[in-house]
């Protein structure tokens, strides 16, 4: 098993900063936009982006939520593992908002499909966009593409892309594990 680091501490912060500025470029003061992180692994990124965007805008009014997609997955009862739900926290009205969904890695696109289903159960958003830290290109099972990308990588199906966060591991790090 080989491991190759593709994003490290310094680059990591720059990338997150860039993503925040891209968001602000598009969404202005975030008056009608909400940031939604996907449980369980997207929330580390979404929390940072939420924090940084709020800092840059010097605003405490940026809407933020965390969405759990366990009950909407299309592989329930098709795998061996029990899918255990995580906490869901959407305390604002989704109706007519612009929503930026945030996840760490975009691979097959199935998680995002589930997230779209889960999100529309809260109301009809005006627009939904997708921000990911790592886009694994050429591996989609569904026609889903990110609007904001931290880094794009080309991987094989049996590679693993792992994102580590200060909050749950030692450092901020993205690496690829290859067999």
């Amino acid at each position: 098993m080989n491991t190759k680091v593709i994003l490290e501490k310094k680059q990591f912060d720059i990338t997150i900063d860039r993503l925040c500025f891209e968001l602000i470029e598009k969404h202005g003061d975030f008056s009608n936009t909400a940031i939604v992180g996907l449980q369980p692994r997207g929330i580390y990124l979404s929390r940072r982006i939420y924090k940084r965007v709020s800092e840059i805008l010097n605003s405490k009014k940026v809407l933020y939520g965390e969405l759990d997609i366990a009950f909407y997955r299309d592989d329930y009862r098709r795998g061996n593992e029990q899918i255990v739900p995580s906490e869901m926290n959407i305390s604002f009205n989704v109706q007519d908002k612009n929503i930026v969904i945030i996840d760490d890695v975009l691979y097959t696109g199935r998680t995002i499909r589930s997230a779209l289903d889960a999100l529309t159960d809260f109301g009809r958003p005006n627009k939904v966009e997708l921000l990911v830290l790592v886009d694994r290109r050429y591996s989609r099972h569904l026609p889903i593409q990110p609007d904001y990308t931290g880094i794009s990588v080309d991987t094989r199906a049996n590679d693993k892309v792992k994102v580590e966060w200060k909050e749950n591991a030692k450092n901020d790090l993205v690496h690829i594990l290859t067999n």
Binding site: A70, R77, E81, I83, V84, P85, M88, F122
Partner: protein, 309 residues
């Protein structure tokens, strides 16, 4: 993410572990949030068909299970003994196998015979959820009771719970004892000697015959209904006397120098085990129990269904 429910069925609390119970609670938290949203439905069980087979009357449990199934997007068929071929002499296994032949994945059953669900689980190929089997167990009721205590008091461990009433004939009592003990609560049973089984201390519970002493000891009082339909002989002189000695009224509650939670699994016989003013007071969490029933049953069915692929 590797947490898993340890049993393929839910036949009784006796068979499941503390981790299983905690897993049900954690999952139920999510479902409770969902059933309080404008859209109360998730698509998790859209490929699951559930048969609700009730050989005994039920209002709450049956509606609760049915709502839980609908909110998980499962397909359901309802069956009650009175309107079925059981009255024509069909056996339990035949009845259930016929239902399963129509491609049913899960069976929720209530039956007057203790052990009926165990028996069925051995002989048919479907996941069984016990919705009450005679005087034996009523596991989902115990789960929702403990879940309600956890919600109101922040936890179950170390809490003192007294179960008052007809312990001998109550499946709610037995399941509650197993469940609360597994979660680390202290449990006491209280009632007339004739309605408390011999050797119940072996389950690790205290026994008390004086209601006031029991109430002074406890944090939570779970008042049970007198199950006259299961009593073939007289266990106490009259309902009026039972009510005087073991009925919970405002006067008794006011005498306590603390606040306790009042629970009741329903159906309530107002004026017998509990008076109206107590049942409707702020101490009573009876309707919270009903609400939590849907969330915990959704959790149980979600976790069980997830094992099948």
């Amino acid at each position: 993410m590797s947490k898993k429910f340890s049993q393929p069925h839910l036949l009784g609390i006796k068979d499941i572990t503390r981790d299983d119970i905690e897993l049900v609670f954690e999952t139920a938290d999510n479902f409770k949030a969902i059933i309080n949203r404008p859209i109360k439905k998730v698509p998790s069980l859209r490929d699951v068909t559930v048969a609700n087979i009730f050989f005994e009357n039920s209002t709450r449990t049956r509606i609760s299970f049915e709502l839980a199934q609908k909110r998980l997007s499962a397909d359901i068929v309802n069956f009650s003994a009175s309107s079925s071929s059981v009255s024509k002499g069909e056996t339990l296994i035949d009845t259930v196998n016929n239902i399963l032949a129509m491609k049913v994945d899960m069976v929720v059953m209530r039956h007057p015979a203790p052990g009926a669900c165990q028996f069925l689980a051995k002989h048919v190929d479907a996941q069984i959820i016990n919705a009450g089997d005679g005087t034996h167990e009523h596991p989902t009721q115990a789960l929702l009771d403990a879940y309600s205590i956890r919600e109101k008091l922040g936890g179950v461990k170390g809490k003192k719970v007294v179960i008052v009433g007809d312990i001998t004939h109550s499946r709610v009592a037995l399941s509650n004892i197993y469940c609360l003990k597994k979660l680390g609560a202290e449990v006491m049973v209280c009632g007339p000697t004739t309605l408390i089984p011999k050797h119940i201390e072996s389950l690790g519970v205290k026994v008390e015959h004086d209601l006031m002493k029991a109430l002074n000891w406890c944090d939570v009082a779970n008042m049970l209904r007198i199950q006259l339909e299961r009593q073939e002989i007289k266990y106490f002189p009259s309902l009026r006397e039972y009510s005087m000695l073991y009925g919970l009224d405002k006067e008794r509650l006011d005498k306590l120098n603390k606040e306790i939670l009042i629970m009741h699994p329903g159906p309530i016989n107002r004026g017998v085990e509990i008076t109206s003013d107590v049942a409707d007071s702020k101490h009573s969490i009876i309707l919270d129990q009903v609400e939590n029933g849907v969330a915990t049953r959704m959790a149980v069915m979600y976790l069980l269904a997830g094992q099948q692929g």
